[in-house]
Symmetry: C2
Subunit: 478 residues, 2 copies
């Protein structure tokens, strides 16, 4: 890892060059690098925490001056109970996941001794821009190396000292492994971002992890593909046939369990026939948890008639703007709908295509909803908070994507890979087929892993392998 | 299909609205639309050819005036023997491919009665910009509808009359089917492209099919993801241990069988130990086919010493620029390399990451090459011309992508799909797991097709289905 004063172009070129060498390393070599990083960060805990203390001191001063929120200061603190150990364990967790590259995912017999294989491989160079939390650097580094990608990392300025310490430790650790240190590049100054975003020749994918503003800025200013989501406006549609206890439980979880999460519930759509049956109990439970309810006219009127005066007094009328807003807070917008179609149309128009749910006892209405909602995750009878890589069983996640291409929803290691098409032949040529008289066989063959692995069979080959992977003069190019 | 005077925003909104309805249609309904289009274009052949004659007349005039090439005029001509019938057959071929949407590609048991499924679905709205050939409109329309996507199509101005005729026939055909006509929008004026490229809220993917200039213009001016390739600079690396007859056959096919194709060979890298053994025979065969050879100093010298004086006189010295240029013509740049590493570095730097090949008898050198080359297709002992969707067994292709995300290499129907994550539960919530005491099961379940299908079971449900799919007042939203 380079803590760099290099120009953005030099950073990107070095990462590209490193990525070429990293891409041909074996599973064992990449895993060994993660083990080395884990050990080094484990041994370097005091060094990192000392640097983190400097960041915290500056942040506390800024917070006292009102320039920084207390919650941001908390997120900065690596000394918080168990946080450093969780970060360390995260590296080993990623190491122990299945290798996502060199997997053969399709094989076709084109003709005798002419076989087409689709083999997963790294994307190349990732640019990851994130805010605040310094432990993310270890997590992202582990994910990038595990999937064979080089990464340029740009963290928030509030955690500069922590980043520098972690970066220098990772750099020292990598120098003892087969992974070139150039594969991880730390960028510290904000003003290089604009230049990096222009380098689509060297950078293959940009992942902004942060607020709406950051993501929009990135999307609007680069030809590099961007993976992520700007907003998390999640909706739940409550039908009159949903069991009331389930509705209360699911909606409370979706709104209250972590209101700052991108998968938290922001809008509740209620069928007219649930207004005075299920909704009052849902509303009461939410009010008890301190949630502000912003209601449209029919739901406001229904709740005012059914809730006790104290609760009813807490209700607020909603405005149109509430249905296009991500509160990230204990606030819920409630809207009345007259039909499944109206709910679907509202969600496809106003949700941010992140995660939306229906609560109903009718499998048919559920299926109609699941089919018609155009969002990355769509649920029946469960909480929108389920949208998470760890909960989906991916081990970890890079973020959540609302993109319509490549990777959608929680992005795990698989989202950091692409594939190449490989043909192994014995001299067959295109003109022999079709008008040339030969017919394609196009038989699907069974697939197995390791088809893309490159294993030396003798000393000559091992020597070639070593030369190939040598830090200098190895495989290169942009 | 609308032949439209609408504003770009209206076009995009109509396509988005149509895409919502199209996405929930059954396989049979989408296939029936393709059958209807096939029948209508079959019956409307005279109408289309009359319109095509107008385009041809204008093009011939322009060609006489030197404003248009004769090859472009040829590409315009739909009356050419078999061309119209091929276009018609292409529609049926796409119809008869496996349905790429509503396929369950992964299933995980998160907990008892809490199942996560990954289900393929359409991307949404495609913007396809192409040059010249009017039959592409039928091909692209078929691919878009088959995969459940709406498409905005912008063709070349030279084929305006043909497009208008085909569009009006397709529009009439669609009006008899469940597919809303809004799902195909034809845009005729060039000046709306800039506006359409700004509408990333409504358009999900842009596919430019045409020259380098068009693709670069599109990539540089939109936040919509772009699928395609700007250049096809394909390389082949010839090692000294390759059998000479195979080398001659493969290289001649790659260069000569269709020099204007993006998968045609543009650069031959030759190991020093093949310079005076295999290369002379390769060069002789190429010269006999009329190929101009642009050689670096070592290969030029080797060939001058081994070829007959007549052949040697045809050789040209290369310039550095020849190694970054797509000739699309009977021209080949030849470069000498001293090692596998040098070949790999050259290709990773100078090829356009489209298709590159190695010719060798050594499986190890082949494997090293296949692993290290960062291109969408990488071959051992076969011609770069194999890079083609039909040859890969995809039935057809939308184009060839050199992107590092989503779809790489020849893009078939699968490249026009994405997936959504669906969870079916019975009231489970996030707070129950982890600290809440319950453990995730994360068991992989077998996958099957049709999980995303939505089939009405009784009259009430059939009525709901009908209302849902009604042309007006149906599922909508942006």
């Amino acid at each position: 890892m380079s803590l760099t004063n290099a120009t953005p172009l030099e950073v990107a070129q070095a990462a590209r060059s490193g990525s070429r060498k990293l891409a041909v390393l074996s599973t064992e070599e990449r895993n060994a690098a993660l083990t080395a990083i884990h050990r080094a960060l484990s041994e370097g805990k005091d060094e990192v925490l000392a640097a983190n203390a400097k960041d915290l001191k500056a942040a506390n001063n800024a917070a006292e001056g009102g320039e920084l929120s207390q919650s941001l200061v908390k997120r900065l603190d690596l000394g918080k109970k168990g946080k450093y150990e969780d970060m360390l364990q995260g590296i080993l967790d990623v190491r122990d996941l299945e290798d996502p590259i060199n997997k053969t995912t399709a094989r076709t017999l084109l003709d005798d001794n002419l076989v087409l294989s689709r083999i997963t491989c790294p994307i190349g160079v990732l640019l990851i821009i994130f805010e605040a939390r310094p432990e993310v650097i270890a997590n992202i580094s582990a994910l990038a190396l595990k999937s064979g990608n080089a990464a340029i990392l740009k963290g928030g300025k509030e955690s500069n000292h922590s980043f520098a310490a972690i970066a220098s430790i990772i750099s020292r650790a990598l120098s003892t492994t087969a992974v070139p240190s150039d594969c991880l590049q730390l960028v510290q100054t904000h003003d290089v971002i604009a230049d990096l975003l222009k380098l689509d020749t060297y950078i293959d994918l940009c992942i902004p992890r942060g607020g709406n503003k950051l993501v929009r800025m990135v999307k609007d200013s680069t030809a590099i593909p961007v993976l992520g989501h700007a907003d998390g406006i999640c909706c739940t549609y409550l039908r009159g046939d949903a069991p009331t206890p389930m509705a209360v439980k699911v909606i409370v979880d979706a709104k209250v369990s972590y209101p700052a999460g991108c998968n938290a519930l922001e809008q509740l759509l209620v069928d007219t026939d649930a207004l005075s049956t299920i909704l009052p109990l849902v509303a009461k439970a939410l009010l008890q948890k301190g949630v502000s309810l912003r209601c449209d006219a029919p739901s406001l009127s229904a709740l005012q008639q059914t809730l006790d005066p104290h609760s009813a007094a807490l209700l607020q009328p909603s405005t149109e703007a509430d249905y296009d807003f991500e509160f990230l807070d204990l606030i819920l917008a409630i809207k009345t709908v007259n039909s499944l179609e109206e709910a679907i149309t509202h969600i496809n128009t106003h949700s941010s295509h992140h995660t939306d749910a229906i609560l109903t006892s009718s499998p048919f209405h559920a299926q109609a909803f699941l089919s018609a909602i155009d969002s990355s995750s769509v649920y029946w009878n469960t909480s929108t908070r389920m949208a998470d890589g760890q909960r989906y069983g991916f081990g970890t996640e890079v973020g959540i994507s609302t993109n319509k291409i490549h990777s959608r929803g929680p992005v795990g290691l698989e989202g950091l890979t692409i594939y190449k098409w490989v043909i192994r032949g014995e001299g067959q040529v295109s003109a022999e087929y079709g008008a040339g008289g030969r017919a394609w066989k196009h038989e699907r063959l069974p697939v197995g892993d390791g088809d893309g692995e490159w294993v030396a069979q003798n000393e000559e080959e091992r020597e070639l392998l070593r030369r190939f992977r040598a830090e200098k003069g190895g495989v290169n190019g942009a």
